[in-house]
Amino acid sequence: MIDLDAVEVLLVEDNLRDAELTIRALKKHNLANQLFHVEDGAAALDFLFGRGKFEGRRTDTSPKVVLLDLKLPKVDGLEVLRIMKSNERTRTIPVVVVTSSAEDPDMKTAYGLGVNSYVVKPVQFDGFIEAMAKVGIYWLLVNHPPK
């Protein structure tokens, strides 16, 4: 069981296959050790704010990066983003939108909300794995998260 207080990557993805692939990709590069996966927007928010299911989580620690899909049940990805970016505590957490949608409006909105990065899921498996790995490497190793 992962230590919820030491989560480095929060993966918000409803599609279990995609989630599995993402985790696989990160695992290949040893980046998936501290990865936590939630399947909808509400769970994500609960985790981040240490409420609901995740009551008791230490909220002074934050993941190094949140990989956020847009098409989520319950609470939509963009909504999650908005909430995250409007909250003092969660605003500084790097958010990478990882989505199938390359639609302009979504992108515009996301950037408008202050997303740190917008990644379109490659259709092909190879590309997907590579992209995920790159994202992981960058945000976990290269990027310096705020303390």
Partner: protein, 1186 residues
């Protein structure tokens, strides 16, 4: 030393005898030995033995005797033979060989002695043989040799025939064993010839050495000089030693080498050659030589050497040249030179003799004229020469005939003496002329001997006549006979001295004639040299008349002076240069107020007013005429009064100075009078000029006497141009006019006339004048008024009137035509047209209107209003009134009308106010049209539009749904694909060991298919997006776009493999993103389908046509079968299997969609395995549809 003559014999004896002796011995020995034995054998008894021995002995002795005999015979014979040989030799030798004993007698002498002396000297004493004189010469030598010395000497001894010979004698003493001289051998050689030869040789050598000509001997083999004589060397300016060894040819000038060689050969062949050549010295200077070459041959005929004799012929050559030039001389001589035989045959004539020959009618080879021939033979006889003058044509020759001694030729030397002759003639002529002059001179010419009493040597006729003497009476007489006051000799000497000093004396003196009368003469004497003597030449002129003339002049001068002084007009003379008064008459003094002295102290400037000074100076500076007359000067009197003067000035010479004689006439009054006249004239002129009418006075000669300015203007001339000229001059042809006839009438009949006249000016213009002609004192007086304008105006008016008439007619015609048109309109138009007045009463209606109103005839409606026909007329009445009031037309009012007959229609009514010419509305004009149908159509359209709107809305909704659909497709369809692909890969990766090859292949297939589906989805999405997307129009730089697309698409390997050619692509208008997609699809196709080519060529280019811009992408790849070209652009249509080339088949469909949206077109050409070209054409920038 003992000289034995028989040396040979001695030799033989030495060896021979030994041999013989030896042989004898041997034979002897053998005989003895064997003969004894033989004898012993043969002998039977003692007696026989003794007999044999005796015979043997006798035999032996006999043989020995024979042998001895033989030997001695041989010996003697040999001796004799040698003696004979010796004798032959001695006799043959030309030398005297003898042996003389001590007694000086010849013991032996060879034959030569006999020949020499004529007898054998044997036994004789030398003296006898040689002769006393000879013996005397040689006796001392004989003595010497007899004393035992060998003597050799040369001497001359007399010969038998009286001559003498040179001999070389050698005496050798014959000393016996005791040393006593028994005699001596004498060897005497006749060396006369040798001496002579030596002498000759010496002579030759001297000659050789001393010869003035150069002699050189050349070696024919080495071609070098062996030896040469000093003269030769001198010729070459060298020493003899320097010359030997010199190459022969090198001595000759190079230009002569061939010539020399030829002559050498000639010498070798013929033995001798003689030629001229140029030799060149060692210092390089050349000189001409005469060479005589002799080739000396040896006994065998071989060439031993060549002897060359060279003669420096420089002088000779010069002489020859001189000769030649001399020879040319006659040819060049401008004077005739001829040579003739005694018989007169011309053997030579130089070119200058042409004239003579022609005159003699002869030529070279011909004969001289007979008188010449006679002369020649005479001259040849006498040996003298003669000169005579010959004249042929214009030339005179002085010909000297010179016989040539010792030949029968004569030379004729001619000299052109024409000029001399001419000079002589001229001289003679001038002498004659002079003589004539002398004689003919009207002046007396006397030649006087200036010695003694000055006798007259000669005088001419005039002198005789003048003085009344004959020539004979004058010649020899003293000059005093003519002189009434004879001179003393002292005066004469003084006179001569003066002449010598001054050259010519001129003076006047009286002469006395024979008859005693005296007359004055002017004498001019000079001293001349005539025939070596000084002679006084005196020329006397009778000056009686002149003296008289002088007297006359003096008197006329006085008269003149009188005239000057007493002239009532002021006169003066002034110096032109100094401008000073030289003389002044009384009148001038009186007029000007200055005294005579004052005048003489003044200049002519002083009598002018100061302001005129400039003008005066200028005038004076101009060249003067002898007589000048000038007006307009003003003079200043002493009291200050200014007068006008008229100056007449004569140029005179006074004492050598150019002066002027001036008469000044005071014309002040005259001027004033003139002025007054002119003023009054001016006044009249002004009056006349001020008149409006033209005024002219013409005299009886038809000359303009006076014209005023107006007339001049009328006549288009200036007044001054007309005055004094005749009418005919100014207006040629005027005589022919009717006007002129009238003028003439007036001029002659003196009757006044008045008429109008149109006048044609010389330049063709026409003018109208009203003339009033009256007779005048001078001729006729014409008053003319220019009525041209008036006439023209009248004409214009008439013309205008006529035009107006015409216009009115036209207008009326037009009007009626218009009326007819209007009527036609009214009758036939389907529209309802009406005219109403201000009160909306119908003025006029169209037929259709009338019929709608229910009237048969439009005229019936006139005067009625709407109220008569329509129930709702009030409304229209109001409308009309409003229109008429506001002046604004009512256009296209649509209204529902109920016609009188109950019909109801929609009409469109237009009502327009009718203004009159002033703009006042006087009525209304209306058209109403039945628009029922139109209305109905409009309503239908509206309905349709509404339907369309609805449909459009539905369509938009559909599109919206479509968009949503594609969006979800793109999203939702992709995700599972990713999973399929991904998990399959995971399977392969993680469970590799469990999978066999087939298993892995199957997994591969799954992955690939999943990917493919993804591509299909992408393409479909793109394709659908295309249709929706709004196109942006922008200018696209196709060049850059295509290029950058290619470079993005092609990998490094691709770029290495592909040769990418891009031409110049013109820009085009379109949606940049969509066009980019076109390039991407076409170029990626090209890259893909050339992937199999080793060397792929992709060419991008464009073709311009007028209506569209065509771009193309050409590749040399796999190409396609043209049969399936139609399928290329269909969606999902592929012409290759997935195995050959991957792809979804949407690319080209997209290209087509985009291009079509731009209003263009696509097509393709291809050939299997060769390549394909894909074209797309876009409309040019301005138009494309959206």
């Amino acid at each position: 030393m003992n000289h034995r003559p028989f040396l040979l014999s001695t030799g033989i004896f030495k060896r021979g005898p030994l041999k013989i002796a030896g042989l004898y011995l041997l034979i002897g020995s053998l005989w003895i030995l064997f003969s004894d034995r033989l004898a012993a054998r043969m002998a039977t008894d003692q007696a026989m033995l003794t007999a044999i021995s005796i015979y043997k002995g006798w035999g032996y002795v006999l043989i020995t005797a024979i042998l001895l005999y033989w030997l001695i015979l041989r010996d003697t014979a040999a001796t004799q033979r040698s003696e004979e040989q010796l004798r032959l030799v001695t006799d043959a030798l030309p030398v005297l060989i003898s042996y003389v004993d001590a007694a000086r007698q010849y013991r032996f002498a060879n034959q030569a002695y006999e020949e020499w002396f004529g007898h054998k000297p044997l036994g004789k004493h030398i003296e006898t043989v040689l002769g006393t004189s000879a013996y005397k010469i040689i006796s001392s030598h004989v003595d010497k040799v007899l004393s035992g010395e060998i003597v050799g000497y040369e001497t001359e001894i007399p010969y038998k025939d009286g001559g003498a010979r040179f001999v070389n004698a050698m005496y050798i003493p014959d000393v016996d064993a005791d040393g006593k001289v028994k005699g001596f051998f004498a060897l005497v050689q006749d060396i006369t010839e040798r001496k002579e030869s030596a002498e000759q040789l010496r002579l030759w050598a001297d000659a050789f050495e001393g010869c003035a000509h150069g002699i050189s001997i050349g070696d024919p083999i080495t071609h070098r000089i062996v030896v040469c004589n000093p003269a030769f060397a001198a010729m070459h300016k060298c020493r003899v030693e320097e010359m030997s060894g010199t190459g022969i040819l090198s001595m000759y000038a190079p230009s002569d080498h061939a010539h020399v060689r030829r002559n050498v050969e000639k010498a070798d062949q013929l033995g001798h050659a003689s030629f001229e050549a140029r030799m060149i010295r060692k210092d390089g200077s050349t000189f001409p030589v005469q060479m005589d070459l002799v080739s000396v041959l040896g006994e065998d005929g071989e060439l031993l050497y060549r002897v060359a004799t060279a003669q420096d012929i420089t002088e000779r050559k010069q002489a020859e040249e001189e000769n030649q030039s001399l020879a040319r001389f006659p040819a060049e001589n401008p004077n005739p030179i001829l040579r003739s035989t005694q018989q007169g045959k011309i053997v030579y004539a130089n070119p200058a003799s042409k004239l003579l020959l022609r005159d003699w009618h002869s030529e070279v080879g011909g004969y001289l004229p007979p008188d010449w021939i006679n002369l020649i033979s005479e001259l040849i006889h006498t040996g003298s020469r003669k000169t005579l003058d010959v004249r042929c044509e214009d030339t005179t020759y002085s010909i000297m005939v010179v016989p040539i001694p010792d030949s029968d030729y004569v030379n004729l030397y001619g000299r052109d003496i024409t000029e001399r002759k001419q000079a002589e003639t001229a001289l003679n002529e001038s002498i004659a002329r002079l003589r004539t002059l002398f004689e003919a001179s009207p002046d007396a010419i006397l030649l006087i001997d200036p010695r003694d009493n000055w006798p007259i040597l000669d005088c001419n006729t005039a002198a005789c006549q003048m003085n009344g003497y004959t020539r004979n009476e004058l010649i020899g007489q003293s000059i005093d006979i003519l002189n009434p006051n004879p001179w003393a000799s002292a005066n004469r000497d003084e006179y001569l001295a003066r002449i010598r000093r001054e050259g010519i004396l001129r003076y006047e003196t009286p002469h006395r004639r024979k008859n005693g009368t005296e007359f004055p003469i002017e004498v001019s004497t000079s001293l001349i040299s005539l025939g070596g003597r000084d002679v006084l030449l005196g020329i006397d002129r009778d000056i009686t008349e002149r003296k008289q003339a002088e007297k006359k002049l003096r008197s006329s001068e006085e008269r003149y002076r009188y005239l000057f002084e007493n002239n009532p007009h002021p006169m003066w003379v002034y110096d032109r240069k100094a401008l000073a008064f030289l003389a002044v008459n009384e009148a001038a003094i009186a007029k000007y107020g200055y005294s005579h002295q004052e005048f003489l102290n003044m200049t002519i400037v002083d009598i002018r007013p100061p302001e005129d000074a400039d003008r005066l100076m200028k005038n004076l500076a101009q060249p003067r005429q002898p007589l000048e007359h000038s007006d307009g000067w003003r003079h200043l009197l002493k009291d200050g009064t200014l007068i006008d003067v008229e100056i007449t000035s004569h140029t005179v010479e006074v004492d050598g100075n150019e002066s002027a004689l001036v008469i000044a006439q005071d014309v002040t009054d005259r001027k004033r009078a003139e002025m007054a006249i002119r003023e009054s004239e001016m006044r009249y002129h002004h009056i006349l000029d001020a008149m409006m009418e033209g005024c002219q006075i013409i005299d009886f000669d038809w000359r303009y006497v006076y014209v005023n300015t107006v007339l001049a203007e009328q006549g288009k001339h200036k007044p001054e141009e007309l005055v004094h000229h005749t009418m005919m001059e100014m207006y040629p042809g005027i005589e022919r006019t009717e006007l002129f006839t009238i003028l003439q009438q007036c001029m002659q009949e003196r009757t006044p006339r008045r008429l109008e006249n149109h006048f044609v000016f010389p330049d063709g213009r026409i003018g109208w004048f009203e003339l009033s002609i009256q007779p005048a004192r001078e001729g006729i007086f014409i008053l003319s008024t220019d009525i041209t304008e008036r006439k023209r105006a009248q004409e214009e008016l008439q013309k205008a009137h006529d035009e107006l008439e015409l216009k009115v007619q036209e207008r009326t015609a037009a009007l009626s035509q218009t009326n007819a048109l209007l009527q036609a309109l009214m009758d036939y138009t389907p529209d309802h047209i009406y005219f109403k007045d201000i009160q909306s009463r119908f003025i006029r209606n169209s037929k259709s209107q009338a019929s709608m109103l229910g009237l048969g005839d439009p005229a019936e409606a006139v005067g009625k209003t709407d109220f008569d026909f329509f129930p709702h007329a009030a409304r229209s009445y109001d409308e009309e009134q409003e229109v008429m009031r506001s002046g604004q037309p009512l256009v296209d009012l649509e209204e529902w009308v109920v016609w009188p007959d109950g019909r109801e229609t929609w009409v469109s009514t237009t009502k327009v106010p009718l203004p009159d010419s002033d703009g006042q509305i006087i009525g209304i004009f209306g058209i109403s049209r039945d628009i029922t149908e139109r209305k109905r159509a409009e309503q239908a359209i509206q309905q349709l539009n509404a339907d369309l709107e609805k449909q459009a809305g539905q369509l938009r909704a559909a599109i919206g749904e479509l968009e949503a659909f594609s969006y979800s497709v793109s999203h939702d369809l992709r995700a599972p694909l990713r999973a399929i692909d991904g998990f399959t890969r995971i399977l392969v990766e993680d469970y590799e060991s469990s999978l066999d090859a087939e298993g892995r292949r199957v997994c591969g297939v799954i992955s690939k298919e999943a990917r493919r589906m993804g591509e299909l989805i992408d393409d479909l999405l793109a394709f659908s997006r295309l249709s929706r997307k709004e196109m942006r129009a922008a200018a696209i730089d196709m060049q850059t776009l295509a290029s950058s697309v290619f470079h993005e698409l092609a990998t490094e390997t691709d770029k290495a493999r592909i040769e990418f050619q891009i031409g110049s692509l013109p820009p085009v208008a379109g949606d940049p993103k969509l066009i980019r997609q076109v390039w991407v699809n076409l170029l990626s196709n090209a890259i893909k389908f050339t992937s199999r080519e080793k060397r792929a060529v992709i060419e991008v280019g464009s073709m311009d046509s007028r209506s569209e811009t065509i771009y193309y992408v050409r590749d040399n790849g796999t190409g396609f079968d043209m049969r399936y070209a139609g399928k290329l652009f269909g969606v999902f249509q592929r012409l290759h299997s997935e195995n050959e080339f991957e792809g979804t088949g949407v690319g080209l469909a997209i290209v087509q969609r985009v291009v079509h949206r731009h209003g263009g077109r696509v097509w393709a050409e291809g050939e299997l395995e060769k390549g394909a070209t894909f074209y797309f054409a876009l409309p040019p920038k301005e138009d494309h549809d959206d």
